[in-house]
């Protein structure tokens, strides 16, 4: 305990009194994390008195308290309200107050429950909760916190359920509970008698909830820590899985929107409303009213029709007079100039010091989930025409605030707005906001019919929320062969944080009026998110990292790993350049400067498995990177083909990837691998070739043929994922964790392969397509049937 860099997550045992480990403590007292964090913070502060000779970077906020801790802390008080039950047919029902969008949390949750209830995961039916305002902060999906948070609650809840079923069986048999065990959905006694859960559930429900329940020790786990397929895999491969617009909502009619030629342009008038209204299949043409309580309702003219095909045709026939948008005349170049001018200068380096510096640009990104922005809304009226209720179906990461917002919009009590959370076709942060719901509600209100609203892909990329572009400047100061300072300045158009995480993080409301784009609340929340998410694993002396949000009113939203991917990628690029300046190997330099043993372990695992340092042919390069995020550690080594005939005419190609991860406590091996494989594919895309060119206030890209998200041919044929075994460390997050190290490794491999410094992302970024004209949707393509 003399190492001042030792962090709470690496020394969980000392957080808990009386020799209890952290997990056990949580099992006993659900409010423990607050006390644990305070204890950890004090302990570390005291320990910093033992500073050694080397200039050590003071621990980050994240070392003591991160977003996951905040979500845990605010979720636990309402965990008893989460619905976990056993039906009379013996099936286990879990209603999750989170959104599933492919990240596999529903499967991991089913595994946790199956483990403690001694049933097969297939016997657990997981559904997503409707918005439940009584859950307060316990229904927000984001920050790779789901598994971390529910690991602290679900096993205990399921174990308590098991004990009640056993107690019910004991009562039925008139015996004590000693010797009774739960096995394969039944309670079994020492004589071999059995009672099924289904037959016991009514009796068990009347029994008291036991106190002091402990989940199984990890060593006895037979489900958690194994490889399980997704619980909805069969529904997916047979086409039965229902996404929002697949739902058969009675009377709901297809609706599409003509959107402005520039971002957030306003509707002035519709010149041919009657003519479009008379087109085949068209049911209604309505302008979306300006306004919104928390975030502005996206502007446009909506067309409701019998089919989406007819709505699309009618949308293109509309002749609308548009007013100015919020970024008219802006482009990537003008925004870059503003960002660059806004960052604070570096400190003056000491005499005799070497510096390694870099300026970096990241293009804006579209979340571009396969399922475009969409929602169904049904605003209901009574016989007198007064609005009395509303029902909503959508993929929503923030359903409670959506419900509150729509209740306020319609002048209804919250209880009159029913919000169904639908498993979505990807999200990556996009569905933290509910813009499609706002529009569908307005259309339903104005037309008197339920509306199923769909963004065209072109609009999803151009007018949907995305990650705003970024400018980074970083400088390392090297003195006598050591890093004595690392300064990092980041500027970006302000990131909209009015999704509810603000209320969670601070008592201050971030929901400023829609007209106040750059509210103090938003700034505070954005900085708080930055502070509680981004952390560097190195000892680089005096390290400063500042984020400067710029008041540019674009459609922004958190993107997978938010500020972490660009910030840590830049750091990993700088680390390579610092090592080179000092004449050291990139791996050895990292190992010498990492401040966390678990980070060193994943790095060594990946270097060994990938054959770090092997001779590469000319034009090829290896790249390595390491990262810590949400209590998980990950390292990546990739090989890149950057030969002129490849990287000169198109993006460089990643030919091989090796990834090692330490999540503390692995739950689903297949799910962990899947999230890392996905992070690799996403990193290949956004580092090498995918980005948005904003020009005259609108992105040029409007299709996957223009926004170059990777395909089969871009994904390496040799990918290995190493999952470090459970050594008793606290569970870490997963969904976003792979982004930073994959991105850093790819950039570093590209640098070695090409001999160039990676500075502007994506690295291959020409406008090699004819953009769709602003405002109008592309016409459908017509092909013959295959012969």
């Amino acid at each position: 305990m003399t190492d001042p860099t030792r962090c709470p997550q690496d020394g969980s045992t000392f957080l808990a009194p009386d020799g209890l480990r952290r997990r056990s403590l949580l099992a006993y007292a659900l409010s423990a994390p607050v006390a644990s964090v305070a204890a950890g913070f004090a302990a570390n502060l005291a320990l910093t008195g033992d500073a050694q000779a080397l200039p050590l970077t003071p621990p980050d906020t994240v070392d003591y308290y991160d977003l996951g801790d905040a979500v845990l802390q605010t979720s636990l008080p309402t965990m008893p309200l989460v619905r976990l039950s056993v039906a009379t047919d013996g099936r286990v029902k879990l209603e999750l107050p989170r959104m599933e969008s492919g990240q596999g949390f529903d499967t991991a949750a089913a595994m946790m429950v199956a483990e403690e209830l001694a049933v097969a995961p297939a016997q657990v039916d997981v559904t997503l909760s409707d918005a439940r305002p009584e859950l307060v902060f316990n229904q927000l999906t984001g920050g790779s916190t789901n598994v971390r948070v529910f690991d602290a609650a679900l096993p205990v809840m399921a174990a308590a359920l098991r004990l009640r079923l056993i107690a019910a069986a004991a009562q039925q048999w008139g015996v004590g509970t000693a010797g009774l065990v739960a096995r394969a959905g039944m309670v079994v006694d020492t004589l071999g008698r059995t009672l099924s859960y289904g037959s016991l559930t009514a009796l068990a429900a009347a029994l008291p909830i036991p106190a002091g329940v402990l989940p199984k020790p990890a060593a006895q786990n037979t489900v958690v820590g194994t490889r399980q397929g997704r619980i909805d895999a069969r529904a997916i491969v047979t086409g039965q899985k229902k996404f929002t617009l697949d739902l058969a909502v009675s009377g709901a009619r297809p609706t599409m929107v003509r959107r402005p030629p520039t971002v957030m342009g306003t509707v002035v008038s519709i010149r041919n409303q009657a003519a479009v209204q008379a087109m085949p299949g068209v049911l209604a043409v309505v302008a979306l009213p300006a306004g919104g309580n928390i975030t502005p309702t996206p502007p446009g003219v909506a067309v409701m029709a019998e089919t989406f095909g007819q709505a699309w045709t009618a949308v293109n026939a509309l002749d609308v007079v548009w007013g100015k948008g919020t970024i008219d005349g802006e482009s990537n170049a003008t925004i870059h100039a503003k960002l660059k001018a806004s960052v604070l200068p570096f400190a003056v380096p000491p005499l005799g010091a070497l510096t390694v510096e870099g300026e970096f640009e990241m293009a804006p990104l579209s979340h571009a989930p396969m399922e475009v922005d969409c929602a169904i809304a049904d605003v209901r009226r009574n016989a007198a025409g007064a609005i009395v209720g509303c029902e909503i179906w959508a993929g929503l990461q923030s359903p409670i605030i959506t419900q509150q917002d729509m209740a306020a919009t319609l002048g209804l009590p919250v209880s009159a707005v029913k919000v169904h959370v639908i498993s979505s076709g990807g999200s990556f942060g996009r569905r933290l906001f509910w813009d499609p719901v706002q529009q569908a509600v307005q259309v339903s209100k104005l037309t008197g019919r339920p509306a199923k609203l769909l963004y065209h892909r072109a609009d999803d990329m151009r007018h949907g929320r995305g990650r705003p572009q970024q400018y980074h400047r970083a400088r390392a100061t090297l003195l006598l062969g050591q890093v004595t300072a690392f300064e990092h300045r980041i500027a970006s158009p302000r990131l909209d944080t009015r999704h509810g995480f603000g209320e969670l993080l601070t008592a201050a409301a971030a929901s400023a009026p829609a007209t106040v784009q750059q509210s103090l609340g938003n700034l505070a929340v954005e900085e708080a998110l930055f502070k509680t998410m981004v952390s560097a694993p190195y000892n680089f002396g005096v390290a400063t990292r500042t984020l400067q949000p710029a008041p540019i009113a674009m459609n922004t939203g958190s993107y997978r790993s938010v500020h972490i991917q660009p910030t840590r990628m830049v750091e990993e690029i700088m680390v390579d350049e610092m090592a080179a300046r000092l004449g050291q190997d990139a791996l050895a330099f990292r190992l010498a400067n990492l401040r966390q043993d678990r980070a060193k372990a994943v790095l060594q695992a990946v270097a060994t498995a990938a054959g770090w340092g092997k001779v590469m042919p000319k034009g090829f390069g290896q790249g390595i990177a390491v990262h810590q995020e949400t209590r998980s550690y990950v390292a990546v080594c990739v090989e890149v083909d950057g030969r002129a005939q490849v990287a000169g005419t198109g993006p460089a190609v990643v030919t091989r990837a090796t990834i090692a991860i330490d999540v503390g406590k692995p739950v689903n091996l297949s799910g962990i691998e899947a999230q890392l494989e996905g992070a690799l594919a996403e990193s290949i895309s956004i580092v090498l070739m995918a980005g948005l060119h904003v020009q005259n206030g609108l992105p040029l890209e409007g299709s996957f043929s223009q926004y170059r998200y990777g395909r089969n041919k871009h994904y390496p044929k040799d990918v290995k994922v190493i999952i470090l075994p459970n050594k008793g460390d606290p569970i870490g997050g997963l969904g976003e964790v792979g982004m930073a190290a994959c991105s850093g490794a790819i950039a570093n491999a590209w640098a070695r392969a090409t001999g160039l410094k990676p500075r502007k992302f994506p690295l291959y970024f020409p406008v090699d397509f004819t953009p769709f004209p602003p405002g109008r949707l592309p016409d459908p393509v017509v092909n013959p049937i295959p012969v």
Partner: protein, 160 residues
């Protein structure tokens, strides 16, 4: 509106729809067959891939008049084609079975299109090469490409 007569998943259907309406909307909005997904509408993302007379095609880019008298198979009907051919495994087409066993899907939205494209490739060749798989351009935003490739190869090896 003209009546459009064709076969979907082995059943004859008759739908009133304009000749130029994309078959995707006829399937989804008029027939309630929702396995084929909308992802772009312009034959880029391939999420609406189905089979016309057994061959892969994107339903967003084929007007309904072009499928009059033809036979369409959507993801919902793929298993039945294997059952009819006596080649079903566990009630599924071999591609679906391998997809299930190898846990290919993440969010699942693009997967009907991916599976229909893979089944079409395996109809064309029993020994798909990496180049053949690279030529499949279906977008998967979750990044399941590694498992898609492995599953296609596994399915090829298991093809009855």
């Amino acid at each position: 509106m003209p009546a459009q007569n064709f076969t979907v998943n082995g059943k004859p259907v008759s739908v009133d729809a304009p000749d130029d309406m994309a078959t995707l909307w006829v399937l989804r909005d008029k027939l309630g067959i929702t396995g084929p997904k909308y992802g772009c509408g312009i034959n880029v993302c391939k999420a609406c891939t189905c089979h016309v007379n057994g061959k892969a095609a994107t339903m967003c880019s084929i007007p309904v008049a072009a499928v009059r008298g033809q036979s369409i198979t959507t993801i919902e009907g793929l298993a039945d084609t294997a059952v009819a051919a006596g080649k079903a495994v566990d009630g599924l087409h071999i591609v679906q079975k391998v997809w299930l066993d190898m846990d290919v899907a993440q969010c699942g939205f693009c997967q009907p299109g991916q599976i229909m494209a893979a089944a079409d490739l395996l109809r064309r060749t029993r020994t798909p090469t990496d180049a053949d798989i690279d030529a499949i351009e279906n977008v998967c935003r979750c990044g399941t490409y590694g498992r898609v490739r492995a599953a296609i190869k596994a399915a090829a090896a298991l093809m009855p």
